[in-house]
Symmetry: C2
Subunit: 484 residues, 2 copies
């Protein structure tokens, strides 16, 4: 690793251990510039005079799929409403929540969620934002009102945000929107105007991006989809495009009936997808669609806890990985529940009745695969792209992330638990590929780190979030784990 000379750093810290691209390293000096970007990373640094971080340091992860308002309905749909509850009955419960939210509520809920994301190790979120209009479906006096509230929530929480205003125009294949959907609706031009307005709003902010999210092929007629995406890219040729696709078998059947093609095949053939695209859920793919997805360079944005909760099904992860895709983002989480570490591997294990099945090519560690894989926004430039960030740059390889005080450097520090190091066995199979998160650290700390991550420990108050800050007047402070 190289970096600016230590004296140039605006601030520096000593991490007892850090996961660098080459593996775990001990005593890492992290230098942060005045703009919050990492300017230098120095393993094996002398400790003298530096504030010592309270645990090992990992790069932050992006949450690739957030519907912030759904945080308010956590638990509300865990109630039987039909003989056969499904995604579709869940959606009715969600619409009932939608009908009640005003701008103040949206902002408060989103701020709460974003603090939880930070506490869970997610240092940025891609907000798939579809709650645009007033309760009667008419625009607010400022048509950008709800989007601005989402941005304000991200500001108050101190999280990076890719805002993806949603295009929603239909209530199903060839169907008009329902009353429950009226708050989501935009014309193509209306959405592009909103995007232009929001781009101006965040101009100059390295921690804010604006993209677009055509909701789904159920909600956006495919005939006009390429044109509206072209309108986005006329404003910003690098802007990310996220879409829900093939989440439910009924959606596949509906698209076949309506357009004679399966959803992902239709995107491939009639819209065109490329590395700017993130296909969210992408659960039901046939072999040709899977090959097309891999060839496109688009990413599959999986939400394992959502896909289990809603009974969607399981993405064909092993077949996908066997094709050596450049893209793989299994840590995306939904906002319906607090963020969790990746559940993808567990579903796949149930599907295949095997263990450690969800590893990228050449990877042997489940935890290491998550952090070394393209989910690690701050380590790999190509990961940043799907979260909507510009590609990585800079001398360290770390500085692709946006940042704003107090989220210096987009790192996450982890509270250690006892290492059981006296009893700790070493894996019988070792390699020289660098140490894996959770198993091969130079000290017991990284193993503890992975353990804490899996149980949801939060970042250090100094790094990654605003510890204990009340995020809305009158709300209780978040309980926070004390760090020794």
């Amino acid at each position: 690793m190289t970096g600016a000379r230590p004296a140039e750093a605006a601030q520096a810290y000593l991490a007892p251990a850090a996961l660098l691209p080459e593996g775990w390293r001990a005593d890492v000096r992290l230098e942060v510039g005045a703009d919050g970007q990492l300017t230098g990373v120095w393993p094996g640094a002398p400790a003298a005079g530096l504030p010592r971080l309270p645990g090992p340091v990992l790069p932050g992860l992006p949450n690739l799929h957030s519907h912030a308002f759904q945080r308010a309905m956590a638990g509300l749909a865990e109630h039987r409403t039909a003989v056969e509850d499904s995604f579709w009955t869940w959606r009715e419960a969600m619409y009932r929540v939608v009908a009640t939210l005003d701008p103040d509520a949206l902002q408060a809920i989103a701020a709460w969620l974003y603090v939880e994301c930070l506490e869970g190790g997610f240092t940025s979120a891609a907000e798939f934002h579809y709650l645009h209009q007033d309760t009667d479906g008419r625009p607010f006096s400022d048509p950008a009102e709800m989007s601005l509230r989402v941005l304000a929530a991200a500001d108050s929480a101190g999280i990076g945000l890719s805002l993806l205003p949603v295009l929603y125009q239909a209530g199903g294949f060839g169907q008009p929107p329902t009353a429950g959907q009226r708050r989501f609706l935009h014309s193509d031009d209306g959405l592009l105007d909103l995007i232009a307005r929001l781009r101006a709003q965040v101009a100059g902010r390295p921690d804010r991006r604006v993209g677009m999210a055509p909701h789904s092929l159920r909600a956006v007629p495919i005939a006009g989809l390429a044109a509206v995406v072209a309108g986005l890219h006329a404003q910003d040729p690098t802007a990310p495009v996220h879409i829900h696709v093939a989440e439910q078998e009924a959606e596949v059947a509906g698209m076949l009936a309506h357009a004679g093609q399966r959803p992902v095949q239709a995107l491939l053939d009639r819209v065109g997808i490329d590395p700017r695209w993130c296909l969210v859920h992408a659960t039901h793919l046939d072999a040709a669609e899977l090959r097309g997805l891999v060839a496109s360079g688009a990413v599959a944005g999986l939400c394992p806890s959502t896909e289990a909760n809603l009974g969607d099904g399981l993405f064909p992860a092993r077949d996908y990985l066997a094709q050596g895709p450049s893209a793989w983002a299994p840590t995306a989480v939904s906002a319906a529940t607090p963020p969790r570490s990746c559940g993808c591997g567990l579903g796949q294990r149930l599907l295949l009745r095997r263990r450690t099945v969800c590893l990228p090519p050449g990877e042997v560690s489940v935890g290491g695969g998550l952090w070394r894989g393209p989910c690690a926004v701050a380590l790999w430039p190509w990961a940043c792209r799907w979260a909507g960030w510009p590609s990585g740059s800079g001398r360290t390889g770390w500085s692709c992330g946006p940042t704003t005080p107090p989220c210096w450097g987009w790192m996450v520090t982890i509270c250690s638990t006892p290492s059981f190091s006296r009893q700790e066995p070493r894996p019988s199979t070792r390699s020289d590929r660098g140490c894996a998160a959770g198993e091969r650290g130079p000290t017991p700390a990284p193993r503890s780190a992975a353990r804490r991550l899996s149980s949801g420990a939060g970042p250090h108050p100094l790094i990654g979030c605003r510890g204990g800050k009340a995020i809305a007047p009158g709300w209780p402070r978040r309980p926070r784990p004390p760090f020794a």
Copy 2:
């Protein structure tokens, strides 16, 4: 509800809300006798002069399946060791850990786990304890050494414990034990002697029970199984018997090849199971075995996170529930990871591609089903039985649990998060069955309670565990959430 007159209580508390057998009730006075048993429960009580608990109160849950030492290997098997990792390669990793543990280590690890169980809302554990002998397979100078260490760990953590010494005699169907299994081995008489010794050790302790755990039909020849269980019941006719069964397809195939019967059918026909039995995992059952299990009154002890992690497969929960079993224990957790709330419903949703599929007959709430179901040790006498506790008794219906200071009453209080109550919709379908955990509380608090539970909030330091107590010399204090 009835109870002793308030003046007779050794101590009393006011819960802002509590889940009682009839549903959520507000302002509940909880009276605890000098022995720690609940002596009275008074909904709608005047608050004057009582210490107010910091959140809503739920009855504690039993952890029906713990292998405490496995807490030390969390993460160590999340590492690819074979082209097709499986339960069987995981077991090799586990044996490597087993080879390193001395009595001090076992006690420290178990104490740590039990504190985590308490923090997760589990107020008792059934310890499926198979690490008996020294590293060379010979007995310790006190053959009960390791069992006594488990009891000592439970004492230091302050958790209820059903100790289930494991009978382990074979390395597979008709196979001698391997070197990796030598620490597990007992003769029938040796195990019955150990059980007698442990029964004497815990005599007079209402929070301790001793049962037996024939490890599996792989590890215990079925021919002698009925006799050794009879030896247990000669000592204690009510003692619980837990067994791993039909966890892996290879086990089913092996039993068919060895004995001409599937494992659960063999238990039904050749051993006999009854309501004292808990069949752990019970993943692979045919229709006849499922009917036999229901008819027997034995409980299926599911460990959803383990069964996913190990690629076991999914218990046929919907078919089971459709037969109206009296027994259903989906919250059992393995000790390999910190305890979590029930993941059973999520696996079933993936299997069936439907939601809310894991509800007992007549139940509409997922959370309510967990707490009103047989998992709720303190609410339903028949639940206590499988955790090894005597049936409930007393006027309140709550006082079946063992208890020891400082675990008064085996209740769990929950830290509230904001209720979003202004935005909170009500389910459109309501019933008069009482309110469900998470959805229908008399105040916003119970909904918050369910939310915190799903994200792993711990119990109040005063109720359910020893907050912040160092559990082994030199170990760091557990980080604990501060309660407002």
